[in-house]
């Protein structure tokens, strides 16, 4: 999954007008799923969902309860809380990856979703980096420098590793932000085993 295309966003809000608006903002870029309460949000959650925009104040199952459920089940999704007021608490402590204050703009919403997908991408890139390093180490085992120099597969691997190192360095700038740093670790914690094949 690349950050720019094909991602799926689940919009959860009891106000259907809000859901409709967010859908209009996002559907040109992402596949949209929607839910109007916490219960159906949990039903809508599946492997395809990458980002959840979660209304905090909903009748019945609250946004926080949905979030708790997501963490308990270990779903590999990033969650932005949608709130009417600026959160007066630390979103890092609450387990949200980001937040959106209502009313929001198209630009703001796209920026938040893009940001969450970017840190997911960073977690994926670090995993791929690991996998390439393991492959390179395996190729090096018991081989002379001469043999390695003659091996096009090894040269190709080395080139991919340096490319990825540049990408990782550029992506790492976002880690200075506490919530991005923690959300990246959460993406590592929740990564499903199937993603891990390099």
């Amino acid at each position: 999954m690349t950050a720019s295309e094909g991602a799926t966003v689940l919009i959860v809000d009891d106000d259907r007008e809000v859901v409709r608006t967010y859908r209009r903002y996002l559907e040109g870029t992402y596949t949209i799923h929607e839910a109007y309460d916490g219960e159906s949000a949990l039903d809508e959650l599946d492997e395809d969902v990458d980002v959840v925009l979660l209304d905090r104040m909903m009748p019945g199952t609250s946004g926080e309860a949905v979030l708790e459920h997501i963490h308990d089940r270990g779903y590999d999704v990033r969650v932005a809380m949608v709130t009417a007021v600026d959160p007066d608490f630390d979103i890092v402590d609450m387990g949200f990856d980001d937040y959106v204050t209502k009313p929001t703009t198209r630009e703001e919403l796209l920026r938040v979703v893009e940001g969450l997908l970017a840190l997911d991408q960073h977690a994926v890139d670090v995993r791929e980096y690991h996998s390439l390093l393991v492959k390179a180490a395996a190729l090096r085992d018991g081989k002379s420098t001469y043999e390695l120099d003659e091996n096009p597969a090894y040269a190709d691997l080395e080139a991919r590793i340096s490319d990825l190192e540049r990408t990782l360095d550029a992506e790492a700038e976002q880690l200075i932000d506490d919530s991005r740093f923690v959300a990246t670790l959460r993406a590592i914690d929740t990564a499903s085993r199937e993603d891990i094949d390099g």
Partner: protein
Amino acid sequence: MAEGDARADRYPLDDTLPVGLGDIGPGMNILVSGPPMSGKRQLVFDLLAPEGTSADPIVVMTTDDPVLRIRTQFEDRGVRFDPTTFRIVDATGAPGDTDPAVHRVSSPADLTGMGVAFTQAVDEMATPDRLRLGFVSISTLLQYVDAERAFSFLHVLSRRTSAAGYLGVYSIDPTTHEDRFVNVVTSIFDAAVEIRDQDGDRELRVRGISGVPPEWTPFPY
């Protein structure tokens, strides 16, 4: 880092290493590797609080070393156990009394929890410009998460401290892992300090620092 005043940001190491490496640049991450009982933890702590240098704020993340022992180690080095400048992220899972200088995480398997605790520790120290992070140990982390998650965690944590200009010092016991894993994890770090025991004599070499030849040097106990 701005080149002009880069020296001002460097981290003095004093005579901690017997190889004439007097200080190290900001944002570096160092791996200290050695077999059991080789003194690598002492070396990690020495690099965090070198004798005779003015103390930088310190965070120690532990997956196995008990808080009390770490505390003693630093008290022996003349570091005051003051939560404004010294904090421990304790992921050993050991129970303990509430202590403002100790951030508890249930287990090393909780990578997110360790990250949250680190950000809280740094926030509560008012996000200093300089800080030394110690991590003991990678080997224990590996008992709780698979190699790939451990690698990812260490990569993200080390890049986080690097971006802030902090110094990171991590320990590993290479004898408990496959060589291949050790090689792969070493590539996360800017420099590696290796300790070995040669017929009862301890030696050390530093790799990855320009101007410091990677030669084995006696390192008495």
